[in-house]
């Protein structure tokens, strides 16, 4: 028997029982629809997290943290950094030194009138290029420093907003120039812009052109017993360029990056100066952090407060968890995204906590997958019910057609063809239900994606739908007002159709077997 004949026969039989066929198809429709919509929501959330993470920055950067490491984890020191460098796939690894020195400020402008709580960051100069920070102006060369008191630095793009005018009252609105954000609170609109010649194009946004102004790192090294005044020591910082660490690297964007060697020397010098100043005038850090770096309590109350600072407030120093030579953070740059998993695994195996966008992404996707699994389970249940439905419909059809099947057997219809007839019939129910389910899903998806517009049209106000929170990822909705809520891709449609047809076929197996077993004597039996 030819396939088209079998097909015609099956379709004919389906048409004979329109009502029942329709109901069964609707069952499949609901199941397929549930699965497709569920997956499409998940795809959309993953897409928008990916979109968001892309803005966050580099997918191949790993931050190794000493904090939160396991008990017996070795110190995060130079030896360990060296070990990270030897992991296959690692391009560079550099410790990050960030003195959390509350008594230090960065000053600049006429008479050093402007003051910022600027954070110094020490990196290995060779790592700055590979780490992929965007150079917005100048050069990134931090090497060559003949004079210990003139230290080249790279200025973070948002650092200019940290400066305060000391000649204005602290509460004055003019005391600081503020960044302006776009509507979605994602991007700063008035970052400094330089042309190729190094000219600042938007000087009106700032107190001064930070790349062409002398800056000083001013640190309190003691107190004059007589006058009660602080004793400062100043180091000149020479801005050589401006960098951006991407949307999410707060420290780099607001910091002053220098060669880690220079930062070490500077710290040593400050320590020496503090030690050499009037005895007793300098109070050592009272936070119990006896680390190798200095922590000086300033008598000038709160001068640096309120501004941008990446200070964690807890530890007095970043360059040690209580012991010299160990770092709080190490940055590792990996060659390719593909190598990320392997490198991250190796570092985690040492016992360290890590922070990377890939890791974040993995966690977010894990969360989405988990929710999807749960909802997918519900969808699967509805599809399972649809399968039972098909089985029931087919069994009924076969019971009703016992005589017909008997006649066909007497007339020489081979068993395999009888089996095929009913498998095709069941498969067709599945496939038709699948097609209908996909169509309905596409409509639903269109509806969901245009929900804010539709709501607005109905005068219900534009209340965006936050699918992210639905998947346990709060805040995504905020970023993705324009993004699709449901994304149905070609593969999903193909999969849904195949799956529905397969469910139909599968549900047809038992009924078809039953049909094959019907005796040809059914044809003879008198009714």
């Amino acid at each position: 028997m030819h396939l088209p004949d079998l097909f015609l026969f099956s379709v004919d039989n389906l048409r004979r029982r329109k009502g029942r066929t329709m109901l069964t198809i609707i069952g499949v429709l609901v199941g397929v629809c549930a699965i497709v919509v569920m997956v499409s929501l998940g795809v959309a959330v993953n897409n928008s997290t990916d979109e968001m993470l892309k803005n966050w920055g580099d997918l191949t950067r790993i931050e190794v943290l000493s904090e939160g490491a396991q008990q017996d984890t070795p110190k995060l020191d130079e030896t360990m950094v060296e070990q990270f460098r030897s992991i296959p796939g690692v391009r560079v690894a550099t410790p990050v030194m960030e003195p959390q020195d509350v008594s230090a400020t960065i000053v600049g402008g006429p008479n050093n009138r402007f003051e910022a709580p600027g954070q110094l960051i020490g990196l290995e100069p060779g790592a700055i290029g590979p780490l992929g920070y965007a150079l917005l102006a100048g050069s990134s060369k931090l090497t060559g420093n003949p004079d210990a008191n003139r230290i080249p630095v790279l200025v973070g793009a948002q650092a200019p907003f940290g400066f305060r005018d000391t000649q204005k009252s602290q509460n004055s609105p003019d005391a600081q120039k503020y960044p302006q954000y776009d509507d979605e609170y994602m991007n700063i609109l008035n970052l400094p812009r330089y042309d190729e010649k190094g000219t600042l194009l938007n000087p009106e946004e700032f107190f001064f052109d930070i790349l062409h102004t002398k800056l000083f790192y001013r640190v309190v090294v003691g107190r004059d017993e007589g006058s009660g005044e602080d004793v400062y020591k100043e180091y000149e910082l020479v801005p050589v360029g401006m960098i951006s660490g991407g949307a999410n690297d707060f420290a780099i964007n607001n910091g002053f990056v220098m060669n880690i060697e220079n930062l070490r020397k500077l710290q040593a010098d400050v320590r020496k100066a503090a030690g050499g100043s009037a005895g007793g005038g300098l109070e050592r850090g009272s936070d119990g952090n006896g680390g190798g770096s200095i922590a000086v309590v300033s008598s000038r109350g709160g001068s640096g407060g309120g501004g941008a600072s990446s200070s964690t407030g807890g530890g007095g120093s970043s360059s040690g968890r209580g012991s010299a030579g160990s770092y709080s953070r190490v940055l590792v740059k990996v060659e390719h995204v593909e190598a990320m998993d392997e490198v991250e695994r190796s570092i985690k195996a040492e016992g360290y906590q890590i922070d990377s966008i890939t890791e974040t992404r993995r966690q977010m996707q894990g969360q989405v997958a988990q929710t999807q699994m749960m909802l997918g389970g519900l969808a699967a249940v509805s599809l399972f019910v649809a399968a039972l439905n098909i089985m029931n419909t087919m069994t009924m059809a076969i019971t009703e057609r016992r005589r017909e099947i008997g006649i066909m057997k007497v007339l020489g219809c081979e068993l395999k063809n009888i089996r095929r007839m009913f498998l095709i019939e069941a498969g067709a129910i599945g496939l038709i239900g699948g097609v209908a389910g996909v169509l309905v899903s596409v409509l639903l998806s269109l509806l969901l994606n245009n929900l804010p517009a539709l709501l607005a049209l109905l005068g219900l106000g534009a209340g965006g739908v936050d699918v992210g929170s639905f998947f346990g990822l709060g805040g995504l909705g905020q970023t993705g007002t324009a993004a699709a809520i449901s994304v149905i891709q070609a593969w999903l449609i193909a999969f849904a159709l195949l799956f529905a047809a397969a469910v139909g076929l599968f549900s047809g197996i038992l009924p078809a077997r039953k049909a094959v077993r019907i005796s040809s004597l059914e044809a003879i039996r008198h009714e």
């Binding site: 006649i407 081979e414 068993l415």
Partner: protein, 246 residues
Amino acid sequence: MHHIIHTRKLKKHYLVGRERVAALAGVDLEIARGEVCCIIGQSGSGKSTLLNMLAGLEPPSAGHVAIAGRKISAMDEDQLALFRQENLGFIFQSYNLLPQLTATENVALPLSFAGIGKTQRLEIARRELARVGMGKRLDHLPREMSGGQQQRVGIARAFVARPKVVFADEPTGNLDTATTRQVLRHMLDCSEGHAITLVMVTHEPELARCGDRIITLSDGKVAENIVQDEKTRDRNRRLLFGETDD
């Protein structure tokens, strides 16, 4: 070798409760190629049982059946289906046309099982229907036809694939006398025209007398096995169909 149907010690019993009912108690038969063989006997004598066994619809309890040299009592379901497709036709007492198919489609059904293409098989079916005088009812559904017309479609369906043997179990059992004659006439014509062996169960002796061989069953055994010569047979036919010698 000229015996197209051949049985040896064919037995069939059914278990009814704990009791063994012997429907066939050892039947030995030879039916020649092209013969019209009529089986008569009282109700419950085992006629239908014998026919079903000859057609391979039911396995015998003992003994064996061979048709056209093939031992069908040893075949499995798959082989039997194929064998029926290639060698056997069947006419039912209650016509058994598929209700959703037209006359032509019903007749074409065995051809579709044999894998013959649609246009070709519909063409063959139409020709076959014309032969049994149904040329004007090609597209009628079974419910739109009388019993006699349905049975003529049934005859066309049984002969359309040119089988070696056609079985008929009381094919006129539901028809009045006039229609019975008409239907029987078509069966005999088809059988004769293509030299197809016809094995027919009937209650009516005057119908049975139209055959070449008349087998009488009694209690599951062959009580009588008469072969008529052509003259007697043709005279009987003329008597039945009310025709004069020509």
